[in-house]
């Protein structure tokens, strides 16, 4: 009950505030929440969800998983090797600073215009927080822990699996969490190019065709989607990092 209050309290307040403040809105681009909610019900029918949201989710999932694998793998390599880090860091920073909308055409040159391109765009955008956090997490592994592993001949893959990754995992989790919402954002951006379905595409279409309440309802759907995914993420994180949360909570009043 209390948890529910925490989860729902603030959003309900904000929605109420929005509802009341917007109820008399004359502004074409900021319609009353009432209209938006009505549009929400009308727009996001099960067929619509299947036709537009499902493909988006599939691409999102594929891109996110790929980015996670790539980010962690690269991050470990870069974090462990100072020379490698020095060599590739500027190149990575270079690409990181390029806005995806201008990069999409280049990606299109190599990856075509199908789902592959969209997945690559998602990977390209959301790999950075994972990569950066992994690098920093790996670099911050406790020296005594590393020495212990070394002394006992724990090396190679086992060292990475049993020492480095777990130790860096809280920070990797931070990166994964950041990446999740960026992946959603990139899903939308990727669907602005060469798409003919998808949630992002639909929202942009609504915007272009001046279906403003529908557009807002799409944005709300994005938010809900992000919220649902982050709940799932929190669940997974809670399981994977049980030791960490336990350790952190251990001495706090129990």
């Amino acid at each position: 009950m209390r948890r529910f209050l925490y989860v729902a309290g603030l959003p309900v307040l904000l929605l109420l505030g929005w509802f009341v403040l917007s109820s008399g809105s004359e502004n074409f681009y900021a319609p009353p929440l009432r209209d938006i909610l009505r549009a929400f019900v009308d727009t996001w029918t099960p067929e619509r969800l299947r036709a537009d949201v499902l493909p988006s989710l599939v691409r999102l999932f594929a891109g996110y998983v790929l980015a996670a694998l790539l980010g962690v793998a690269l991050g470990v390599a870069i974090g462990l090797n100072r020379r490698l880090r020095a060599t590739v860091e500027p190149v990575l920073e270079f690409f990181r600073a390029i806005p995806p909308p201008v990069l999409v055409p280049v990606i299109m040159l190599f990856a075509g215009i199908g789902d592959g391109m969209k997945v690559i765009v998602i990977v390209f955008g959301c790999v950075w927080p994972i990569l950066l956090n992994t690098v920093e997490g790996v670099r911050a592994v406790d020296g005594v822990q590393l020495d212990t592993a070394k002394a006992y001949g724990v090396r190679g893959a086992a060292r990475i699996r049993t020492v480095i990754l777990p130790s860096a995992s809280p920070q990797i989790a931070a990166g994964l969490r950041q990446a999740l919402s960026i992946a959603i954002i990139l899903m939308v951006i990727s669907e602005m190019f060469a798409a003919s379905n998808g949630l992002g595409f639909t929202i942009v279409q609504f915007q272009r065709s001046f279906a403003i309440p529908e557009m807002w309802s799409g944005i709300i759907l994005l938010g809900l989607l992000g919220f649902a995914l982050s709940l799932l993420f929190r669940l997974a994180e809670g399981r994977a990092l049980r030791w960490y949360h336990g350790l952190r909570d251990a001495q706090r009043r129990s």
Partner: protein, 257 residues
């Protein structure tokens, strides 16, 4: 055989230069049990890390069985002074102890056996599934010891391994180390602050001077190989030896002032 030749180590980080070890030379025969004593901050941990190949020395050499040490040699186990930080908080006690064995590709069954035995030997049977941070300081230290013991190393380096346990447990653990040493013919290097412990445990005791560190003195403990807590400590020769060591350390500290 372990040979330390003119070992020197200077730490330089952030403008601060500390000569932790100036010039250390000594040898340890295979299967020997050597205790190292010396004032706090004299470089004992530094020495152990160099021997384990975890730290690059500034000068001199460390050779083990004729090979120059550049990384941790196989069959080496180490109990770190920072026992708390040397346990992996994301693994249960059992996993912490068995991880090195897994690395050594000890078959599963034998592994479980070794782990159970080692944990029982340090008085921790029943805590296998706990995480290290659910244990008291002394218990954590004993997990670290159990890990080293279960590994059945050929060289065992221990850095103040009994600092956090009570007197009774300490006595038990001393006997555990001696029995392990006798049973497996391990080469043991043991750092302690407790002079009685050094004399009780060691076949030799090496005394280090305070910083900048050299070997101050060295004795062979000519007590019988079969020792026990009651009789050995009552032996007049024991008292003689411990007084000698005590005086040397006093001298080392005085010199440095």
């Amino acid at each position: 055989m372990l040979e330390v030749q003119g070992l020197r180590k200077v730490y330089s980080s952030g403008g601060r230069e500390v000569e932790a070890l100036r010039d250390l030379t000594f040898t340890v025969e295979n299967g020997d049990l050597v205790c190292l004593v010396g004032p706090s901050g004299c470089g004992k941990t530094t020495l152990l890390r160099c021997i384990a190949g975890l730290l690059q020395q500034t000068g001199g050499t460390v050779t083990l069985d004729g090979h120059q040490v550049s990384g941790p040699p196989p069959g080496l186990a180490m109990v770190f002074q920072e026992y708390g930080r040397s346990l992996f908080p994301w693994m249960s006690v059992r996993d912490n102890v068995s991880l090195p064995l897994k690395q050594k590709r000890v078959p599963r069954q034998r592994r479980d056996e070794l782990v159970d035995k080692a944990l029982a030997a340090v008085g921790l049977a029943g805590t296998e599934s706990a995480y290290p941070w659910q244990l008291s300081g002394g218990m954590q230290q004993r997990v670290a010891i159990a890990r080293a013991v279960a590994y059945e190393p050929s060289t065992l380096l221990m850095d103040e391994p009994f600092a956090a346990v009570d007197a009774q447990t300490r006595a038990d653990l001393e006997d555990l180390v001696r029995s392990l040493w006798q049973r497996l013919n391990v080469t043991v290097l043991f750092i302690t602050h407790d002079i009685d412990e050094a004399v009780y445990l060691g076949r030799r005791v090496i005394m280090l001077s305070s910083s900048p560190t050299v070997v101050q003195d060295e004795i062979t403990v000519d007590l019988p190989a079969e020792r026990d807590q009651l009789h050995t400590r009552a032996d007049p020769r024991f008292t003689e030896l411990r007084t000698h060591v005590y005086e040397q350390i006093q001298k080392a500290k005085r010199l440095s002032r």
